[in-house]
Assembly symmetry: C2
Homo-oligomer: 443 residues x 2
Amino acid sequence: VTAYEIIRSKREGEELPASAIEFIVRGFVEGSVPDYQMSAFLMAVYFRGMTEAETAALTRVMLDSGIALDLSDIDGVKVDKHSTGGVGDKLSLIVAPAAAAAGVRVPMISGRGLGHTGGTLDKLESIPGMSTSFSPRAFRDLVARVGMAIIGQSPELAPADRRMYALRDVTATVECAPLIVGSILSKKFAAGLDALILDIKVGRGAFMTDLTAARDLGRRLVTTAAQLGLRASGLLTDMESPLGRAVGNALEVAEAVEVLKGGGPPDVREVSLALAGRMLSIGGVAGSAAEGIEAARAVLDRGAALEVFERFVSAQGGDAHICDDPGILPRASLVREVVAKRAGSVAGVDALEIGLATVELGAGRTVVGEEIDPAVGIEIEAPVGAEVAAGEPLALVHANDEGRLAAVLDRVRDAFTLTDRPVAAPRRMLEEIGAPAGDVSPD
Amino acid sequence: VTAYEIIRSKREGEELPASAIEFIVRGFVEGSVPDYQMSAFLMAVYFRGMTEAETAALTRVMLDSGIALDLSDIDGVKVDKHSTGGVGDKLSLIVAPAAAAAGVRVPMISGRGLGHTGGTLDKLESIPGMSTSFSPRAFRDLVARVGMAIIGQSPELAPADRRMYALRDVTATVECAPLIVGSILSKKFAAGLDALILDIKVGRGAFMTDLTAARDLGRRLVTTAAQLGLRASGLLTDMESPLGRAVGNALEVAEAVEVLKGGGPPDVREVSLALAGRMLSIGGVAGSAAEGIEAARAVLDRGAALEVFERFVSAQGGDAHICDDPGILPRASLVREVVAKRAGSVAGVDALEIGLATVELGAGRTVVGEEIDPAVGIEIEAPVGAEVAAGEPLALVHANDEGRLAAVLDRVRDAFTLTDRPVAAPRRMLEEIGAPAGDVSPD
C-alpha cells in the first residue's frame, strides 16, 4: 500500500482499513509520508468523512505516536472534563476542584485561546506566579498530591496531533469532525484517564454553530472513546451568549472564585454542577448524575471545592490569596461603561462579537504565540433576560489602551439586542450526549 | 488574501476571483506557497470543481508561468491536434503530416506513455535516429521548414504545469476536469497555436470511461480555449477497443505508415480523416469539416501526406527509409499467436486489458522515467466485428522475453469477448464537441 493509494481510496469515499490509517499517520510523523500527501489526505477526509472504525483507528495511531501517562498507581478514578470552547467559559476552574473535592482525580491537560474563544491556561496564568508547564512526572505528582492539576500539552503526549494540527491549521482542514475527535481523544487517552465528560458548546460563540453538527461531534466523541475503552458522556450546552458575566482572563478567574464560594452567575453555577455531577457519576463515586450534582453542590456550598482550588493554585506556584483578595489579580487601567440607548429586555448578547471584541482589547490571540493582556476584557452587566432603562449599563469594558477601548465600544453595544417584550434567561443545558435521556437540569 | 483563505473559500464551494487563482499558482511556482497548501487546494478543487471563469484564470496563470512561443512570423495557420490518450492511438503520426500537406502548419508538443496509454514521443523514438528533444527555436525552425514538428515539452513552456502535475500525480488529484483543462491548454497556448482540434477518447481504454464526463471535459476545453482566444473544437471518439490493429511503439509506427500510404485499418483511416479534416476547416484552409475531410483524403491518396511524414522524420534525425522498408524498425524476437478457443464473432476487445498487457511486455511504463522496449506489443488479428473459427488467431503477441510473453497470454485471450451473433464494427466517432451538430462520418 502507498500513500497515493490511501489518498485515492479516501477520495473515492471508501472505508480505509486501520492499517492504511496507521501507515499514513505514522509515515507522516516519521517523515516518510511528505506533508503534501498528508494535506491532500486531510482534505479528502474533510469531504468524505470517516466511519466510526476509521475514527477509532485514527485516534489509536495518534495516541501511539507518543507516550501515554500511567496514573494507575494513583488512588481513585481519573476523570477529566473537555470543552470544545466558548466565550466566558471558565468552567474548568470550577468543575475540576469541585469534582476533585467530591472524590475523583482530575488530570486535566488544557489549551490556550485562539481566535474568539479563550483558553484555560491563559486564564490560570493571570494568577500571579501560576505555572501550567510541568513534566509528565511532575503532573502525575500534582494529581496524586492535590487531587487535580491543569497543565499544557507536553511534547511527549500525542505528538502526531501537534504535527497534524499545525498542518490542518494552514490547509483549512480544522473544521472536520473525525479529525477533531482524533485530536481531542488522543490527547485525553495520553493523559491516563479512566473517564471523560464532554461539554460540547453550540451557538454563535462556539466552534460549532449548528446543533446537528454539534450533536454529531458529541456522539462521535462518545462512541470513539468507548471503542477505545474510555468511558465518556457529556452535554450539549448553549453558547449563543457569553457564559456568565466575565469575559477576559483575570476577570474570569475572579468569577470562578465567586462560584467556588457558592455565588456567581446562576448559569455558570448550573453548568458547573451539571458537569461536575456527571464527572462523579461516570467516575463511580455517585450513583447517578443527580446524586453527583448533589455531591458537587455540597462541596461548593461547604467550601471544599474552594479549598482544593487554593491547594491547586499554590501547588502550581500561584498566589492563592487571590481567593480572598481578587484585587491581587491584574486589573485594567481603564474601565468604561457601555450603556443602553433605549429601554428594553436583553434578547441576545452575541457571544462571537463579545469574544472578538475581547481579542481586540488584547485578551486573546489572532495567531498562535501572540502575547496577551491578562487584565483586559468585558463584563456583561445586562445578560440575556435582564431589563434595562435607557442609559443603564449593558457592559463594562476593561482596557489598558484608549485606542483599543474606543475601537470596541460600538461593537460591544451592537452585540446586545433589546426588545420590548420580556425575555427568559437562556436555557444552557440542551441535550445529553451518550447517556440515557432525562432531566439535565441540576437545580 | 492568504493561501489559507483561498483554500478555505474553495473548500466552501465559492467561486474564486482570478486574483486568488493567480496568487496561489504563482506563489506555488515561486515557492512562497508551500506544496502542502497547494495539494490541499488541489484536493478541494477535485471536490468542488471550477467555473469557466476560474478555469480560464487557472489556464492563463499557468501559461504566464513560462514563455510562449511566437510563431506569427511563420506563414500559415498553426493548428494542433490533442488526444486525451488511448490504446493503439497512433493518430498524430498520420493527422499531423496530412494536415500539414493540405496547408496548415502543425507545431505539436506531445507526451510520453504512462500506464496503459501510449505516448506519441515513444512511438516516434522507435524510428532509428529519431529525436523529439529540440529547443523552442529549433522547433520553430522545423515547423517553418517542414510544415510540422513533434517534440517533447520544453522546460521553458508552462513550468507551472510540470510542477503542479508532479504534485497531482502523488496526491490523487489528476482526475479532475478543470485541472486537466489548465494542464492541456496552458501547454497548447505556450506552443504558439492559432487553433486546436481535440480528440476526447471515451471508453475502457481511455482516461475517461464515462461519456458524460468525457463530454464535460471536451466542452470545458473548447470553452476555456475560446475564452482565452484560441479556436478549438473536437470529437468524442470511442476507446472501448484498441484503435486499429497495432498496439506497441514500432508496430504502431508501421501501421501509421500503412495509413499514410492509403491503406491500414479502416477505423484508423476514418478517425484520421475526421481529425485532419477538422484541422483544415478550423484553420480556414477548408470551408467546412466535410471539405477538410475531402482535402485530407486527397493528400493521403496521392502520397503527399507520406512525403511530409518522410521529411519530418528526416528533419528530426530519423531514418525515413522505414516508410519503404518497415523491417528497419525494431522487431521483437518472439511472436506468438493467441487463438480462439471457440468459434464466434468478436463482440469486444478490452482496450484496458490490451494496454496493460502491452505494458507488461515492456512497451509502456508503470512509473515516470522507466525504460521501454520499442519492439514489443500486440497485433489484433480479430478486431470487433470479425468472425473467427476455433483455433484461429485473435492476436499476435510480440515479445523479447519468454517469461513476459507467457505472463500475458491469458490476459490477451481474456480481453476478447466472443458471441454467437453477428457483430458490427464499432462506431468510432461519437459526438462533435463545440461545433454544429451534424454527420461526423468522413466516409
